[in-house]
Symmetry: D2
Subunit: 404 residues, 4 copies
Amino acid sequence: MSAEPSAPRPRTGVWLVGARGSVATTVVVGCAAVAAGLHPATGMVTETAPFADCGLPALSSLVFGGHDTVDCPLPKRAEALVAGGVLPHGLPSAVQGELAAADREIRTGGPLPGDTRSDEELIESLAADIRDFVRRGELTRTVVVNVASTEPVATGPAESGAAGAAATGAAESGAAATRSEAALPARLPASSLYAAAALRAGCPYVNFTPSTGLHHPSLRAVASGSGLPYAGRDGKTGQTLLRSVLGPMFAQRALAVRAWSGTNLLGGGDGAALADPGAAAAKNAGKERVLTDTLGSAPEGEVHIDDVPALGDWKTAWDHIAFDGFLGSRMVLQTTWQGCDSALAAPLVLDLARLTARAHEAGLSGPLPELGFYFKDPDPGSPSALAEQYGELVGFAGRLRAAR
Amino acid sequence: MSAEPSAPRPRTGVWLVGARGSVATTVVVGCAAVAAGLHPATGMVTETAPFADCGLPALSSLVFGGHDTVDCPLPKRAEALVAGGVLPHGLPSAVQGELAAADREIRTGGPLPGDTRSDEELIESLAADIRDFVRRGELTRTVVVNVASTEPVATGPAESGAAGAAATGAAESGAAATRSEAALPARLPASSLYAAAALRAGCPYVNFTPSTGLHHPSLRAVASGSGLPYAGRDGKTGQTLLRSVLGPMFAQRALAVRAWSGTNLLGGGDGAALADPGAAAAKNAGKERVLTDTLGSAPEGEVHIDDVPALGDWKTAWDHIAFDGFLGSRMVLQTTWQGCDSALAAPLVLDLARLTARAHEAGLSGPLPELGFYFKDPDPGSPSALAEQYGELVGFAGRLRAAR
Amino acid sequence: MSAEPSAPRPRTGVWLVGARGSVATTVVVGCAAVAAGLHPATGMVTETAPFADCGLPALSSLVFGGHDTVDCPLPKRAEALVAGGVLPHGLPSAVQGELAAADREIRTGGPLPGDTRSDEELIESLAADIRDFVRRGELTRTVVVNVASTEPVATGPAESGAAGAAATGAAESGAAATRSEAALPARLPASSLYAAAALRAGCPYVNFTPSTGLHHPSLRAVASGSGLPYAGRDGKTGQTLLRSVLGPMFAQRALAVRAWSGTNLLGGGDGAALADPGAAAAKNAGKERVLTDTLGSAPEGEVHIDDVPALGDWKTAWDHIAFDGFLGSRMVLQTTWQGCDSALAAPLVLDLARLTARAHEAGLSGPLPELGFYFKDPDPGSPSALAEQYGELVGFAGRLRAAR
Amino acid sequence: MSAEPSAPRPRTGVWLVGARGSVATTVVVGCAAVAAGLHPATGMVTETAPFADCGLPALSSLVFGGHDTVDCPLPKRAEALVAGGVLPHGLPSAVQGELAAADREIRTGGPLPGDTRSDEELIESLAADIRDFVRRGELTRTVVVNVASTEPVATGPAESGAAGAAATGAAESGAAATRSEAALPARLPASSLYAAAALRAGCPYVNFTPSTGLHHPSLRAVASGSGLPYAGRDGKTGQTLLRSVLGPMFAQRALAVRAWSGTNLLGGGDGAALADPGAAAAKNAGKERVLTDTLGSAPEGEVHIDDVPALGDWKTAWDHIAFDGFLGSRMVLQTTWQGCDSALAAPLVLDLARLTARAHEAGLSGPLPELGFYFKDPDPGSPSALAEQYGELVGFAGRLRAAR
């Protein structure tokens, strides 16, 4: 872990969109637990050797807040995660101070059902919440990270430049809510409102979900003119992580993948959100991109995402890869990944918050393709193979170190 | 495929130790089939873009011969592989000319049971066979590749410098045979006799098996003074290939692998040979090395190799990887690889023969760690992660291209 | 195998609806191969000890014909199955006489696109084809077996009594074809037209598919008044077979299944047919019934059927079963079944044809719930657990034996 | 659950050999939890409908005690099982009264290292412990159940009638201990000493482990003359349970199983005990018996049991079944079973204790083959297929009911 000075040190804010969800709760609990030495930093890449002395903010200097549309207190949320086997028993009470502190810094997001504010009013309101957080906490800088449930793919107008209809039914960590499309003019997706608010508040932005966020056409000019760094999208935590090392393996060995099929089973809020075909489509686009990019063309095969409430936050991903070898021999690789979604995501969120904060400090702006290691759908310029992405990330760490 | 000149062109020999085995037969059939355009070059890395214009010998210029201690004719062996589903029906007859030609160039290896010749006599005899092959075929150069069944780990004396006891019970492609240890002085392992013969005949040497070959201490000086290039050992075709991409994935993501267990089921000659605990030990050492190297330490877990004759040349490898994520959450990845052993190995053997021949032409000598991409137990200086090995290999191709 | 008399013996017809499909072709080739002693009777339950001396027609006495709407000759179809790895090389030519004989007895089915005949005209025409087959072959009796591709679930009117719209897009073995619904009055599903024709021709009927067949409300009276035996439906060849032994295991051990999820990958004609959501729904209803029946209630979880042309006739079924043990401990069973669809189905079709022919000879009529062993959706009165179904089947064999 | 009378009711003792092990601890905690209505009776077959009104002792009437050679207090052992994810958090404290009561009734077993008592002295001492337990508790009857770690297969003399060498290295729940073979005369295996003590104390005996127990030749006469019921051996909780339904499925469908291979990964005490090749051999004999019995002959294939401490009490069993279908088509079924060993075993132990106590009450004596449902290696006269075993068990319940 990087050395921490004894002098009054700068504090860095992490503003989580979807702040009462499983991922956000695990981020807050885990950061406190690792900072206090209660658990090793397993899963946190920024705590490994190549990232030492890069000037990343210390875990103990991170301050959490965020938006959500549900009002379950964080300590209660944490206990539910204990019951579900996500967090170790006793950990929430061991870090109750940090949980309560974060809970106090969560504000109601939007738009809520029946909300008649304009996009502009909403963005300004959300940005004000963030600015207040920064001021209250005397924070040197704050990174906004979207960890809300996946929203459905915006259709038609949203893609053609005009503001599209926004709607998320995020059962679990609803940072946004549905409104009647008929009653109001076209609106930006909720994720884009939050992204715009981040920039307006002068904060770097990370999109850990497949939602639109800064990718909305109407935000292009705002993003590029903001002078802020941003990164995304869609954290790579299981099936796609595997695909980003197996796809290159087949390609490098000149083996001909004929069909790559996959099924994901998961409960929790994300399972329910992805039972929506639109949301699943957003997720699957990222999953298939890595295959097309690394194999050179898209193989046959579908990807299913099933909502299985009995599994809770635990997800199982089965992949079946039919490939041809020499002289047309037919071979098969199958993989089964059984992991805890929030435990896979949380350390990456901490990594991203730290790296993006440091990039901001170092004066970087615009997309950060060097963070493609973390994403299913990385910013342009990122390679698709994990090994190359890791190389880029380590190189980026080197540049941050040199910039000190 | 690389352009092939119309002028009388140089021919390159490939001398296979274990020339009547499944792998060797698939090499001969497959080279002819791909050269004739009957099948695509699936699985041959040297036929992909990064290897164009490197001066590799054309497939149609390769001439095959070799040693074996069994006498099943190659065409008959090929038909057996058709019956076992390894080769497509009709292919052996389509390339019968090439099969018959290779069959004529196979000589009886040694030592046979009761063989009383000294190591020196054996090496000289084997080298004479190779020299005759080169002369008869008017070959520009010849690469010797060991594809015989795995021999047991040599113990004690062999490792301490003196010549150890050699014994292989290669049921299927016996390039060597057992003799009574009591009746004779200590002898080099059979694989080392073949390796020494290759160097003596002025030929580059590739060890595709886990057998000792050039790794015998008494051959160190011979190898380094030969002025010839060589590479090895133990072709990476399934479970270890997977491990060489999955191990780095866990390491790069800072996930803590607690146990990595594996079971391999295979029939064919290799299954029988590896039912010998000594031979299995040789193989497993390579399999575990990649984990230790890429994870930083050896996880718990064993590797089993079961002889299951019903599976024939088809092998199944199951891996179970228990790992810890953030805050100690316990996760599991399982993989099942179902492949045809010979079809996986043969294109790599062709790759290695071509690359090593070209390295010889380019004046290189000594170990070729740049070929670590192909091996479980690569030469010193090779990284262990497949992606890095691929980078080294492509860089090597670039140097070969530059040397034209 | 049952003893076969030397005297001029009775011949039994097997009329296959979908006679040029993979299953039908495998039935014809396999029956000839086993009768000739070229292959053991693997997969044929009626060739095991409990079925000896039951008076089943000998395999060598079976005569094949059928309906189809495609016109690929059977010998050519058989060669395609060789290429796909379903039939052993050389077998079609070894039984070319039988293949040609069956090919001559295949008639064009219906309704074809644009067909303006009424249901009554179609049924009469199809029945006439069957009667001609019986007369030409001097057959003692003939069983009609539906092995055509699955047709979509008939909706609304079909279920309420009136004739519904029939449409099958059986790419591979089209025993029927689509027509414009708008241009014609409501029509029985094609499978029901064939079933009605079977009864009209005085033949027992077996439905090996999930299609409607005799289950159409408008055929109830016809079926019960026919005096003929019939059985169905939907042959149980893989995932559901497994579920019919695993479901009872969980129930008998009082383990609480919380979610049972499944994915099927298959190519071939059935894969394409089942890519139609309607057809998949028909299939899945049968798959889920066995769980509800054996577990006592329906667990969470979905079933997917993916068309993966690269897999050809080979199918892979993955099941993931999340269950609770003592004190709420969470456990998982996963199964992966890799089989050849036609090779799994064909011996069961032969079993069913023989058993139903013998039941007819023994004077039985109406549904045969004792054949529930073979079906996903058996006739009322059949248990759902495989072991009980097997007990019923063996008991049935005993009654057939006693009736001689 | 069976009705429980309000009058002073009879109490039934359960004396556990290996009383401080994971299984025993789960038995005590689970019995109390289910009796108190804190958890449903998942996994307890005797709590399902067919066992109502059979006169089984109520769970709340069971009283626990036992032997062990380690001295970890039960409440502490229970907390360790919570940490390992075997028991739900909070449950040990909810049933602390019952845990403490059972803990007080545990006596030190034997022989301990250096123990110089004769077999006869040991048996008498162990029997005295049991008699004291019965008297102190005013128990109507007591069943002795062996749940200690597996001991190695006794060799040579033990099998030929004379007393063999006993040695168990049960790391976790040592109900016995090693002594120097050289220093003492041949001795009965520890499990047989406990079994003999049970009979001497007038108690029915159940062997839930693969250890010798009553199967020792020198105990035959004692057992048959005891007038007591007994049952065994080796509880069927995972891989073998699956095999007992899958084996019959293949047989009933006339599919030809060619190879059945398996690997078991488990930590905990049983994993360590089974790392001993002798103990593993005892376990594997039971596992393979079910295949030979249900398939008619033993297929190819091995079974591995790996000690993987990282898995704790959780075990994973992978089975790979290669089978032939019609016309020689090659198919594969794979299963992966992930379960908690103690949670699988404990409800079966409770079932067996209740059923055997009731059998004793009903005046039955000798082996109880009707309990074969629970065992890998059931008493002679039991079928091997689970469905048939279940039928026998339900029939047995009917006889117990009739005997009231």
